[in-house]
Amino acid sequence: MGVVRRVIRNLIRNPLRTGGIVAILSVSIGLALIMVTVHGATENQLGSIGTQIGTEITIQPAGRFGMMGGNGTLAQEDVDKLSDISHVASVQESVQTQYTGDNLESAVEQGGSGGGSFPGGFRMGIMVMGFDTATENPTLTGGAQMDIVEGRYFTTDENNADVMIVGQALADKNGLEVGSLVDIEGVSVKVIGIYDSGQVFGNNMLVMPIGTVQSLFDLEGATSVTILADDVNNVDAVVSTIREIFPTNIADVTTAQDMYQRINSSVASAQSTSQMAMIVAFIVAGVVILFAVVLMVRQRVKEIGILKAIGASNRQIELQLGGEALGMSVMAAIIGALITYPLAQKVANLLVPSAGGLFDGGVTRIAGINVAVSPAVFLYAVGIAIALAVVASIFPAWYISRIRPAEVLRYE
């Protein structure tokens, strides 16, 4: 009969007490593990956001907000000056407007069921976007990316060609397929591809070469220009020069860092919350196990006295009580690790709301944390269990060494 057997016997001697302590510890350890996981995810997300955003600068006509509001375009002569600014690596123009003809019907229907409807009878118009054909995989208004599911993307020599790529929902609604011809503002435009953006509004758009949109809708200049600076350290200098071309009453200039700050503050706030909760959970777990062991030792003073009287050394008794604390910690850590799987993502969602914002330039979509719970959480759990057992053994080590068997066995 070794110490392990004695530890198990003592743990099952009072199942209610052991179960109660394990339950409380499980919650504490589970919370700590969830917070460790969420904290790790926020850290990854912050790194990822930094990589994604880089040196991007966006210019839009003043007062334009996302795909809504604002008037006019940025004058082409001013847009043309942008590529001459030093430290500008690339300039990407785009235009967007509404299709107002009768030949196509919006896929976002009024009053229907499902995700593509507006309550109260408001009907979403069809958005037309124009990009430079040299732009690979452009970003649609609302932040969505195009995934060509049929046909092809533009070739670089199609900047003024009467061709377009249609969102999946819009194509389905209007029976369009690759090769279909649609009359847009009196011009027959050929469908060369169909894309899926994964978004209801993103799939309700027509995408054309920028020159085609400008020509068909009689637009001059661009409704949005995206510039990449050659280095993150040069962004402020480039913005400063842009401001000389586009004063604040003409255009809004948003840098990637502005967006980064907004997202960063959201995720960083979640990170600090998770860190604080993690520390609190660790402290609670430590206090619970310490309290449990203090209770265990105080209740079993006589038993400790007997063990000493029959020749057990302080170390042997500490090993037994430490083993009991470790046993409870390990059970709690396993349960805590198991509850981490279903709860980590939910907690992350509470800390950083991930519901996609239509009008926020995709900030919340980027900020939303995707938590992947890895099996390594069990390693953390074992680490926590051992750490707690070490914490828990401090009191018995001190207390047991002070017990004189004659004193505790003196009175019955």
């Binding site: 009969m1 006589k302 029959i310 302080n314 004189r404 004659a406 003196r410």
Partner: protein
């Protein structure tokens, strides 16, 4: 110089003082000296509070003397600390308490195996030894797997005696071993203890205020107010009772 081959316990000028809750000093053992022979049953008798239990605790290293020395089987008990003290309790003495003090979560068999386990003896040997000891004190196989709560007082005390014998100690210290038993069971326990000296050559020191136990002893030490007031052999004790 002591002759260790004959004397197993030598106590010299032993004093144990306690500080009371009123911060006064009381001597539970007050300047006692004696020598006890091997392979005998020695009774320490006297009224409650005379210092019998304190004396046994000092001999068994459950407590530290204020002054004086104790020599048990050649070991200076009063100078032991820490691991050496635990090792002495494990190998040199076996305790039998009035209230048995068995570990409640362990079976009778496991309680007897425990001191051997603490010594690091292999489980197979522990179990065989423990079964043999339990048989010897009259606990049959059907009772060996029972927890203490399912044993009678007499059976629990027998298990406690078997536990005290587990590591073959030089001295068994029994503190009022019949104090919590009815007279009939108490007599059987006394017979058992006595047989351990006569049949197995064990040295047993019994603290008691029971005259019957004192009557069976080979030597009787009588204490009063922490002092040794009389020392006689068992025959004298018997004659005095008759």
């Amino acid at each position: 110089m002591s002759n260790y081959k004959e004397m197993v316990v030598e106590v010299d000028g032993l004093v144990k003082q306690f500080i009371t809750s009123e911060f006064t000093t009381v001597a539970a053992v007050n300047g006692i000296s004696f020598k006890l022979p091997k392979e005998k049953m020695i009774a320490i008798k006297g009224p409650s509070g005379c210092g019998k239990t304190t004396l046994l605790n000092l001999i068994g290293a459950l407590d530290k003397p204020t002054t004086g020395s104790i020599l048990v089987d050649g070991i200076k008990v009063s100078e032991l600390y820490g691991v050496n003290e635990a090792e002495y309790r494990l190998r040199k003495v076996g305790f039998v308490f009035q209230y048995y003090y068995l570990i409640p979560s362990l079976t009778a068999l496991e309680n007897v195996m425990l001191p051997m386990d603490l010594r690091g003896i292999k489980r197979r040997i522990q179990e065989a030894g423990a079964r043999q000891l339990l048989e010897r004190v009259g606990i049959d196989a059907s009772h060996q797997a029972r927890r203490p709560t399912r044993l009678s007082g007499g059976e629990q005390q027998r298990v406690a005696i078997a536990r005290a014998l587990a590591n073959g100690p030089a001295v068994i210290l029994a503190d009022e071993p019949t104090g919590n038993l009815d007279s009939k069971t108490g007599t059987r326990i006394v017979e058992l203890l006595y047989s351990l000296t006569t049949k197995e050559g064990r040295t047993i020191i019994v603290a008691t205020h029971d005259a019957d136990i004192a009557a069976r002893a080979d030597m009787v030490l009588e204490m009063k107010d922490g002092k040794l007031v009389a020392q006689s052999n068992g025959k004298a004790e018997k004659q005095r009772q008759s």
